[in-house]
Subunit: 222 residues, 2 copies
DNA sequence: GTCTATAGTCGGATAGAC
DNA sequence: GTCTATCCGACTATAGAC
């Protein structure tokens, strides 16, 4: 049986993706291992066999999300770190930050992230130990890296604590288009987010982020 | 038995608030009418009596959220509309928009909004007919109003469709501090959002929003 | 209006066949 | 490893006492 580089067999992969979907919609308690197993084409006791319990599957699902998000963001993170190191200028840091934000926005408007987001947002608003898995995977590193870029861009105007709040606010501009998806569709009259809409969203986020970072640099009066 | 102006008796109010909490955490299917009734100090069959069914209670809970959010935002909305009408200048429109955003941010950092947010975000990412109730209550009106301010601030530089995307991105800066609460706490090292933290968050959002709107007015090069 | 009692379904965990 | 069978608890909805 062929295994992926991550060591996950196709059957486990299918079970994990189904689990993410069900847990994301109904939570740990609300989701049913019977329904997850049936949707993945197997039976409930295979969950017990592979993951020990319902909660074991839940934590494995969180790890699977962290791995997949890491795969999506790693190239952009490498490119950004390269841009960041290319020059000491704050312009280089702005570009490095925009590289990450734009890739993050692209991920969030992509349909693939819908199931991840349901799981993650649930953990954000009512954390369990699965949040440690999610935050330890990529999020924490990303927040720290982006905040350090903001500090550099500000040239000492804002301290680390303020930079972290600024980072979250900037990220929130992208997050809203996934988390408030129903409002997006109502407000725009769209049936779904077509490629043109996705481009328009990313352009708005880039423009806003540039404007915010310009003000951080002191280009405009506060 | 004294009734509130909204015509909701204390017992119903307690039942509805409990329902919002349980439904927000576990969803329509996951939540248990027995548990909701017990936590509200009554029995399951009183839910059937008052709301017909579990889903009837769910819709009533959505309406209750819409009403409460309306109460919180109405004064700011009235003040904002007054500011907006006070002058034709785009500065007046900026102030009017900031009034709404700041009040919205204040609501989102307040602990009270945690239970509402769990319910609403669930409906955002997996809408049912309860979302019609939520969106029809306040959200739709607010998005339309803020977008019209953005159009006015831009002085024709962006059309209505782009203004709506910009509005959502701006709102997202506030939303993130509720929706990604666990990340906020990890990133800052806070145990909770103390008054000083709440002030810092709102200041960042105001500064960013001013910077974004300045760029919309063409104060800085795109 | 609020309660208890009951019917019928579905949940997770486990044991054991193969 | 994957399945069936079974245990026992919890669920919604309803009927009916008071």
């Amino acid at each position: 049986m062929a295994r992926t580089p991550a060591g996950i067999a196709p059957i486990d992969d299918r079970l994990l993706n189904t689990a993410i979907d069900h847990f994301g919609r109904q939570g740990l308690e609300g989701a049913s291992t019977r329904a997850i197993a049936a949707a993945a084409g197997t039976t409930m006791s295979s969950i017990t066999y592979h993951y020990g319990s319902k909660q074991g599957l839940y934590l494995a699902a969180a790890k699977h999300i962290a791995n997949q998000m890491g795969e999506r963001m790693t190239p952009a993170l490498a490119a950004s770190e390269s841009q960041s190191r290319a020059g000491e200028s704050s312009e280089a840091a702005v570009d490095a930050l925009l590289t990450i934000i734009d890739r993050f926005a692209e991920m969030l408007v992509h349909p693939e992230s819908a199931v991840w987001a349901r799981f993650i947002v649930r953990e954000q608003m009512e954390p369990t130990e699965a949040f440690d898995v999610l935050y330890g995977g990529l999020m924490g590193r990303l927040v720290g890296y982006l905040s350090s870029l903001v500090v550099r861009i500000s040239a000492g105007r804002c301290d680390d604590a303020e930079a972290r709040l600024k980072t979250l606010a900037i990220v929130g501009q992208a997050l809203v288009f996934r988390v408030a998806r129903a409002t997006l569709l109502r407000a725009t009259g769209w049936d779904d987010v077509a490629p043109a809409g996705s481009e328009a969203i990313r352009r708005v986020i880039r423009e806003h982020t540039r404007a915010i970072l310009s003000s951080v640099r002191g280009d405009i009066a506060p």
